[in-house]
Symmetry: C2
Subunit: 471 residues, 2 copies
């Protein structure tokens, strides 16, 4: 041949550079024409697993099906009932947040909440007594997520607690969550002193019955909780650690029915004052709304979308649409953030709670751009909050048009975490969370930012790839 | 001399260019070293007047005094009382928004509201009868601002209407505003049909007495309206055309006291439903809060700060701290924005209402960056909203630390419009406003954006300069 190498060297080279820019810059400095390709090596995961999932012809359609069910899901508040009537629990069972765990591995706040629940139910007469029966295995522990339920922080739900009962009018699901106690010394943060137990008794005897009567009185016109959540993003809430507007809207929706309940007017005023004084009252309505949407996407073979992120204070667990009820777990990280009073980083327990269902649904940390004022509660800066939401679009399958973020020109919230995208980018979901004291009985010590351990996603990736190969 | 012109031409010239960049660019293209100065000719105003004000040694300290009083002012809700008890009005007097005006010059919505008020007070038996007595001068018309009061849109306030009574615990002032009727066919938008009059009667007979009893029952702990306004900016409201969070917070603050009022429970439920159903309920609390702050800055000799911006539907009027109660007026502009239903630009009346007191105080259009979702109500884009707030900092004397704008890193709202800065920049204050139908009886047709006529500021500049010369 007259032109060796097919003429490759007889004309100026056409250079395509991928990855780090040191090569392309050196070539450009020598006058070469370089085309950069925005490519990075995968963040983690076996290349063969990533290749198997990328080549799975089911995946695109399966993820579309999964995320479309999430986007379509609705959420109506249809009832308020005691857990024992709703959940069909065996005797002496307590639900808790996150993946399965036993007493031996439970962290301080989960232990504190379990002790408090035993006292509240009258199963034990003292904290020591409660610890003894819990340690002896006399109380069955089971994740909320195994019962269509979710619980913030320790998530401990006992038979006498009243639950919000939500229904998805589109996909037909049901989801449940107990009532929010407020901030500070509260059971879900691991506190169980008299103040906590007195409040729980009032919630059982006054708040629950009044709310139940109010909600039932408007059964023909149930509160549209999804619409409230959507409106919250227009009002500076992100729906996880900032629920101010949502709590006010819940008060507005329920108050006319509450005042019509046949109860002493002092009880009615106390109920209104309790709701009005609790800026997180809505959280326990938002969580089952997200749970309804994510449960609608369960069991879609080939889908690599995350359906659950939840923490029990020791482990972080996730589930995916393609792998059913299987948990993929890793050690829970400790949040970084702002502390109440004299508390500091050493007082904080590792990440705990089912409330990361909000991020799984695309709000919370994923929609921080809608809630710049939250940086005063969880830490960070306003530019961080904006950048976080922008980054989460890289991990997700869709933008939820119902959850529009005004400051981003009403762009929909980043929704439906894709395990493959997480592995490819190496970026982890961002979660806003409360922080419980690591010592049982302490209560809340602050709020901050946290991420899941990469390990959960590594395990899920492997399991999804295996399923692909055997499908 | 050996070097003519002092050597000016023997070395490369040092060139300083001010104003338009065509000169500096041409010189730069010839290799000259050009230093640009960011200077623009004054927007308007007699250079001698601007010079006199700039050289007035009182001005800096006077403006500081004026704006510091504004920033320090507080606002407590201390009572709810009928206008006839509070305002000490002569017989058959109606208050209205904006600068003074007579029936002959009144636009459609102001006429409609005046007619409706005569019917509501029983001074006339028909709209024709009302028009007759108004045209005959049998009813005295007086601006709200002459009575420490403010009224949104037509601002028509009659003796039987209940007023919010607010007090400034810092400067000792008092301010008043009637109760918000909601949107659509309402008196303040110029509607006066049976629906309007029936609602006004219910507000007189039920809403007012219940609110009065509720507010008086917490006299030892009055609602801090300024704190609510500050919180609104953290929740996506700008406090003029977006009052969603504020209205919800007012409901939360008042509802426990409302349910304790000795009134039929159906009335209590109706009051809660009325407040909960009116997203602008808070506006009539925000306006007197701004009025209290701006009135605290009245009568500071040498101060060029605006204390009032108000419109009567025909004229736009302003007052300044250095010129007392004197009005400077120009023709009201017609807002540009979004229309309800089938209404369009031809249906809109020129700018009307005392509600521009919000912008005078530094919220509303000045704080649009805090409320990006408002562009869906008043038009424009989210980047416009951010740019508007940035621009208003150029017209104002201070940043109000109490009114922090989260998306701007909690920068305080641009507060205290300086007539001199307006003249120098040529930029006019930005106002968010409702739009009333130009035909009496129509009601609201939309909401939009509007600016004062430059003329108001030109007149004020001249008067302030004259005062300076004779001081």
């Amino acid at each position: 041949m007259s032109e060796p190498l097919g003429g490759l060297l007889s004309a100026p080279p056409a250079i395509v550079a991928a990855g780090v820019d040191v090569f392309s810059e050196a070539l450009r400095a020598q006058g070469a024409d370089v085309h950069d390709v925005d490519w990075r090596p995968p963040g983690f995961g076996d290349p063969a697993d990533l290749a198997a999932l990328t080549l799975d012809t089911r995946r695109a359609a399966a993820n579309r099906t999964a995320v479309e069910r999430v986007l379509a899901a609705g959420s109506h508040l249809v009832d308020v009932r005691p857990a024992r009537e709703v959940l069909d629990l065996p005797e002496r069972t307590l639900l808790h947040a996150g993946p399965p765990i036993g007493w031996a591995d439970a962290s301080g706040p989960l232990r504190g909440a379990l002790i408090g629940a035993c006292l509240f139910e009258g199963w034990a007469s003292s904290a020591e007594d409660a610890e003894r029966i819990l340690a002896a295995g006399e109380i069955t522990l089971d994740p909320c997520h195994h019962h269509s339920a979710v619980g913030p922080m320790a998530g401990v739900t006992s038979p006498s607690m009243w639950l919000w009962c939500l229904a998805d009018p589109v996909n037909g699901g049901r989801a449940f969550c107990n009532l929010n106690e407020g901030l500070g010394k509260v059971l879900r943060m691991g506190a169980y002193n008299d103040e906590v137990l007195t409040r729980l008794a009032w919630m059982r005897d006054v708040l629950g019955p009044v709310l139940a009567a109010a909600v039932r009185s408007r059964a023909d016109e149930p509160m549209d909780v999804k619409a409230v959540l959507a409106q919250m993003l227009q009002m500076g809430d992100e729906g996880h650690n900032r629920n101010r507007a949502g709590s006010l809207m819940a008060l507005r929706e329920l108050s006319p029915a509450i005042v019509a309940v046949d109860a002493p007017s002092s009880d009615i005023a106390a109920v209104l004052r309790f709701i009005g004084g609790n800026e997180h009252f809505f959280l326990n309505l938002g969580m089952p709304t997200a749970k309804l949407a994510m449960d609608a996407a369960r069991d879609v073979p080939g889908a690599t979308m995350v359906t659950v992120m939840a923490r029990n204070g020791t482990e972080f667990g996730i589930q995916t649409a393609g792998t059913g009820d299987r948990w993929f777990t890793g050690p829970a990280q400790t949040p970084v953030g702002l502390f109440l009073g004299d508390y500091g980083p050493d007082d904080a327990n590792p990440d705990i709670g089912d409330s990361a269902i909000m991020e799984t649904y695309g709000v919370g940390g994923f929609s921080m751009a809608a809630a710049p004022a939250i940086v005063r509660f969880v830490g960070g800066t306003v530019p961080d909050a904006l950048a976080t939401t922008e980054r989460m679009y890289q991990l997700t399958l869709a933008e939820n048009p119902a959850m529009a973020i005004p400051i981003l020109g009403f762009r929909g919230s980043p929704t439906g975490i894709d395990v493959v995208k997480v592995a490819r980018t190496g970026w982890l979901p961002q979660i806003n969370t409360g922080m419980a004291g690591r010592v049982a009985g302490t209560g809340q010590v602050g709020a901050g930012l946290v991420q899941p351990p990469q390990e959960c996603f590594g395990q899920a990736l492997r399991a999804l790839a295996e399923e692909t190969r055997t499908a």
